[in-house]
Amino acid sequence: MNGPFVRGLAEVGVAGAAGAAGAADAVGAAGAAGAAGAAGAAGAAGAADLGGGKAAGLGELIRAGIPVPPGYVVTAPAFGRMLAAVDPSGSLADAVASLDPGDLPAIGRVAAGVRSRIVSAAVPAEVAAQVTEAYEELGGPVAAVAVRSSATMEDSAGASFAGLQDTYLAVRGAAKVLDAVRRCWASLYNDESVAYRRRLRLPEDGLAMGVVVQRMLRPRAAGVMFTRSPVTGDRSVVAIEGTWGLGSALVSGEVTPDSFTVSKVTGEITGRRTGAKLRLHSFRPNEPGICASAMPIALRGLPCLTDDEARALAAVGRRVEEHYGVPQDIEWALLGDDPACPPMHGDAADRIRVLQSRPETVWAAREQAPLATPKPRASDHILAWLEKPL
C-alpha cells in the first residue's frame, strides 16, 4: 500500500524510546528534523513529520510488539499536495499567519474560510488513488474504518483538543474515507488550533498533518488505562476504566465507567467499582456509523471486564510503559463477542488492542521531595517516627 502519500503504520514507527512525546517535541520546534541527528530525515523527527504524532506512536507500538489494529497513514506530503491545490499562492496561509491571537472573531472567520475550502475541494487525483488503494487493501471496498487526525504539531493543548474532535468511526467506502480525511485535514484550522498557533507564534508554512486510517474494531469492551494511579500517582498500579462496546461512550463522558486498579507487582486487583453505564456506543458491520443507544439493562451494572481481562490489560499497559520508560495514558479495546454473551474463551491477552498511548503528564510534572533518605542506622527511621506526634 505504499506510495509517497500512504504508508503502513509499522513503517512510521519512531526509532528510539522517546516515543510520541519525543517525536512531537521534535516537530514542535519546526525544522528541527536536521537536529534530530544521526536518524536523519527518515529517523525520529522524519517519521513523525511523515505521518504525524499519532501515527508515529502507533508505528512505534507495533514495532515494540504491542497489538494495534491494522492500518495506514495518509502522509504529510499528501496534505501538502492538498494544501497546494487549495492555496496555490499561499495567501490563505499568510492570512492565518497575520491573525492577532486576541482577535477571536477574526480567527473564527478566517479559519472557517480555510476549513470550507479544504472540505469542499477535490482530493488531488494521485493522493485519492493511493488512499483508495490502501483502503481497499485493508479490508475490501466496503470495510469499516476509523479515520483519525495525526497532527505533526505537538500532540497537546489545542492540537490534542482538535484531535479529539476529529475521529470518524465506522467510515465505509472509499469516497467516505476521502471525505473523512479532508475533514481531518481541515481540523488543523479549527479555531482553537489556529488561536493556539498564533499565541505561540508558530509558523504557518510547513504546517502538516497525517491522517490515520485503521480497520474498525468491534470491541466487546473498551476504555482507557493509566499505568499509574491518576488519583494518587501510585506507580505500582495500573488504573483501568472501561465500558461495554466502543470506548467513545467513555471518552465523550456519556457513561460512568467501570474501574479496576491492578497491582503491577502482584497482579492483584486492589480496587474495583462498577459504574452506571447507561449508554452504549456500538457498531454493527452492516449498518452505517456508530449506534448510540440505551445500555441494555442487564449490562448496566455488570462489570465489562473479568478479572483475567483486567490483569491482561494491565500487563499490556506495563509493556507499553516499559517500552517508553515513563508512565502512559493508553486507549484500549478488547475484542470479543457481543457484551451480552459470556466472555470468549481463549487468552484475554490475545484479544487486547491498543489504540493510542501517550505519556502521562499530570503526575510527571509534579516534583516530589524524596519520601525518605538513608540514615546512619536503620533503627533511626523508627526513632524518628516514634519521636514525632502522630
Partner: protein, 603 residues
C-alpha cells in the same frame, strides 16, 4: 445517634445496660476493671482481637497481666515518646481498652531523648538479644512445667522429717500457686519486652510503603516482610511428617475420617515395629510442637493439641490420603522465598531515586530482622507457656475439687486468681486442722451463677467502641496491632447492613457455602469447598486450609495467622470483621472479596 447538635459519638460506657440475665456481672471482676463516670469522656474500643468472648473470672488474668507488662515496657522501661500504656475496663464481660497518649511537645521531647538511647540498643543488638530471650523463655517454660501441685496426703512425706526441711506441703500450695502467677507475669514482661519495638519497625515500613505506593495493600507490604521458616508452620509440618511415616511404616489404615485418637494410639501399640516407630515419632513431635493452643492463649478453654488430640487426629487422615495419592506437597519454601524477593525488588525498582531505595532497604531489612521474633514469640508465649500455665491452674482446680470446695476442677476458672488464693487458703487450713474446708457452700453457688452469667453475656453484642470519636489516634500499638484507624472508626460509626466489612488479608473473590465454626474442635465438620467463618485462627487451624475455599474471621489483622496462611494457600481471606460469626450462619451462600475486605451474604 443524633447528628444535628452533637458530634458523632459511640454509646457512652454509662449508657450500656447490663446484659439480661447477667445483672450481677460486676461481682465477677475486680474493681479496677470497672468503668468510672469520667471514662465517658474518653474513646474506648472493644478488644475483640484478643477477647472475642465474655471473660471467665480467672481468664481476666490474660488482660490484667499483659496490660501490666505492655504499659511497663512502653511507658517506663523504653519510655516511648508519644504513648504511655493501655488501660482496660470490663463491661458485660467484654474487655475495652484505650491508650494514654503523650500530647505535650516538651514532654515528648524529654521522653524521646531517653527512648532513643534505650530503643536503639535493642534494635542494634536485636539478633543476639533475641537469642538470649529464647534462652530465658525456655527457662520460664521449664520452670512452669516443673511446678508441682501438692497432693496433701494424710501424712506428710517422711523426707520432711529426715531431711529436716521443716516446711509442710500445705505451705507449697500457696507458694506454688503464686509461682504460677508470677511466672505468667514474667512471661508477659518478656513478651512485651521486644514486641512493641518489633511492631515499631513494622509500622514505619508499612507507612513508608503507603506513602510511596498509596494504593499498596497491607497484605502486599506484609508479603515483602514475611518470614518463610517461622515456627508457626512447624506443628502442621510435623503432622505432615507423621502422615508420611504412617504410610511408610504401613499403619496408615488406622487413620480414617472420624477416628478416635485413643483407639488409634492403642491400636498402634499392637502393630509391631511400624507402630512402635510411629509412636516414637509421635512422642517426639508432641513435645513441644503439640503445645499449640486452639485459640490465641487468652482463654482457659482453648485447649492445646496436647490436651485434646482430636484436632491433630482430624487432620491426619486427610494428610494420609494425600500421601497415598502422592498429592501431599511440602511447603514450596524456595518458591515462596523467590516470590518474596521478586515483590520486594519490583517495588524497590519503582522508587524514584537511589536515596529512597537505600532508605527502603534499611527499613525492610530492619523489619525482616525483627520478624522472627514478632512471629515466633507467639509459639513460645501464648501457646507453649500458656498451655502449661492453664494446665497447672487446672491441677490446682483438681485439688480444690478433691477437697470438695469446687464441684469440678474446671470450675477453678470461674474464680479470679485472688479468689483462687482464698479457696486454696481454705484447703491449706482444713488439711492442717483436720476439719472440712468451708468453701463448698461459699464458692459453688458463685460458680453456678457465673456460668449462667457467662452464657447470658455471650448473647450480648458489644458495640465496637464507646465514648467520643477521637480527634487523633496516637498510639502505634493501637494502629498496628488492632488496626484501629480513622477509617475503621468511620466504618464503626456507619455500619453497613448487608455487607460485613473487615480487612482484606488475601486477595481474590469467591462464593460458596459458609461453615461457621466457633471452636477449633469442630473442624471435622468442614466439607471441601466451604468457606470457613470463625472467631480467630491460630496455628492449630492450619490443617483446615487445605479444604476450604476462603477464610473469614472475626478478629485479626493483615499479619494475623489466618492472613498469612491464606496468602500462602492463595485463597481469599477477610479478617477482623468483628462479628461475621454472628451475622453468617452455616449453609448460607456468601461472597468473600479479599481485595475489598468485604463479605456479603447472598442467600
Amino acid at each position: 445517634m443524633d447528628g444535628t447538635d452533637d458530634a458523632p459519638r459511640f454509646p457512652l460506657p454509662s449508657e450500656i445496660a447490663d446484659a439480661p440475665g447477667a445483672e450481677d456481672w460486676r461481682s465477677m471482676y475486680p474493681y479496677f476493671t470497672r468503668f468510672q463516670p469520667e471514662d465517658d469522656q474518653r474513646f474506648w474500643f472493644y478488644n475483640s482481637m484478643h477477647f472475642p468472648e465474655p471473660m471467665p473470672a480467672f481468664d481476666t488474668i490474660t488482660a490484667e497481666v499483659p496490660y501490666s507488662a505492655i504499659g511497663a515496657n512502653t511507658a517506663r522501661v523504653f519510655v516511648f515518646p508519644t504513648t504511655l500504656g493501655i488501660e482496660h475496663r470490663i463491661i458485660n464481660g467484654r474487655v475495652y481498652i484505650t491508650a494514654i497518649p503523650v500530647l505535650d511537645d516538651a514532654e515528648i521531647g524529654r521522653r524521646a531523648a531517653i527512648f532513643g538511647e534505650r530503643a536503639s540498643y535493642y534494635y542494634e543488638n536485636w539478633d543476639s538479644l533475641y537469642e538470649g530471650w529464647k534462652v530465658r523463655m525456655r527457662a520460664l517454660i521449664d520452670e512452669i512445667e516443673s511446678v508441682t501441685v501438692p497432693s496433701l496426703p494424710e501424712f506428710e512425706d517422711a523426707s520432711v522429717v529426715f531431711s529436716s526441711t521443716g516446711v509442710a506441703q500445705n505451705h507449697f500450695v500457696r507458694e506454688n500457686f503464686h509461682r504460677c502467677i508470677d511466672l505468667f507475669s514474667r512471661m508477659w514482661h518478656h513478651h512485651t519486652e521486644m514486641l512493641m519495638l518489633g511492631y515499631g519497625a513494622y509500622v514505619v515500613f508499612f507507612q513508608f510503603c503507603k506513602q510511596a505506593w498509596p494504593e499498596i495493600s497491607d497484605q502486599t507490604a506484609a508479603r515483602m516482610v514475611a518470614g518463610i521458616d517461622v515456627i508457626m508452620y512447624r506443628p502442621d509440618d510435623e503432622l505432615r511428617g507423621l502422615a508420611r511415616l504412617a504410610v511408610e511404616t504401613g499403619v496408615d489404615d488406622l487413620f480414617t475420617e472420624g477416628c478416635s485418637p485413643s483407639l488409634v494410639l492403642s491400636a498402634l501399640a499392637e502393630r509391631g515395629e511400624g507402630g512402635k516407630r510411629w509412636l516414637a515419632a509421635f512422642e517426639e513431635a508432641r513435645e513441644p510442637w503439640f503445645n499449640v493452643s486452639t485459640g490465641d492463649g487468652f482463654y482457659h478453654h482453648h485447649r492445646s493439641w496436647a490436651d485434646d488430640l482430636t484436632v491433630p487426629f482430624t487432620a491426619l487422615p486427610r494428610y494420609v490420603a494425600q500421601v497415598r495419592s502422592g498429592t501431599l506437597a511440602a511447603r514450596p519454601t524456595e518458591e515462596l522465598r523467590a516470590e518474596r524477593e521478586r515483590i520486594a525488588s519490583e517495588y524497590r525498582s519503582l522508587l524514584s531515586s537511589s536515596e529512597e531505595q537505600t532508605a527502603f532497604d534499611q527499613m525492610l531489612g530492619l523489619c525482616r530482622r525483627v520478624f522472627p521474633f514478632v512471629e515466633d514469640h507467639k509459639f513460645y508465649c501464648e501457646h507453649w507457656f500458656t498451655s502449661q500455665f492453664f494446665g497447672k491452674i487446672r491441677e490446682f482446680g483438681a485439688l480444690l475439687a478433691r477437697f470438695g470446695v469446687l464441684a469440678e476442677a474446671e470450675d477453678v476458672f470461674q474464680l479470679h486468681h485472688t479468689e483462687v488464693d482464698q479457696a486454696l487458703s481454705d484447703v491449706m487450713l482444713a488439711w492442717a486442722a483436720g476439719g472440712p474446708p468451708l468453701g463448698a457452700a461459699h464458692w459453688q453457688p458463685i460458680v453456678a451463677s457465673r456460668k449462667k452469667m457467662l452464657a447470658a453475656m455471650k448473647e450480648w453484642s458489644p458495640p465496637p467502641a464507646l465514648g467520643p470519636v477521637p480527634t487523633a489516634l496516637n498510639d502505634p500499638a493501637v494502629r498496628m496491632l488492632w488496626g484501629v484507624t480513622q477509617e475503621r472508626i468511620e466504618a464503626w460509626l456507619s455500619p453497613s447492613l448487608d455487607e460485613i466489612r473487615g480487612f482484606g488479608a488475601s486477595s481474590g473473590v469467591v462464593e460458596g457455602p459458609a461453615r461457621v465454626l466457633t471452636d477449633v474442635n469442630q473442624i471435622g465438620e468442614i466439607r471441601d469447598g466451604e468457606i470457613l467463618v470463625c472467631p480467630v485462627t491460630a496455628p492449630s487451624w492450619a490443617p483446615v486450609f487445605g479444604k476450604i475455599k476462603a477464610a473469614v474471621s472475626d478478629i485479626g489483622g493483615s499479619m494475623s495467622h489466618a492472613a498469612i496462611v491464606a496468602r500462602e494457600y492463595g485463597m481469599p481471606a477477610v479478617v477482623g470483621t468483628g462479628d461475621a460469626t454472628k451475622r453468617i450462619s452455616t449453609g448460607q451462600r456468601i461472597r468473600v472479596d479479599g481485595d475489598r475486605g468485604t463479605v456479603q451474604v447472598i442467600e
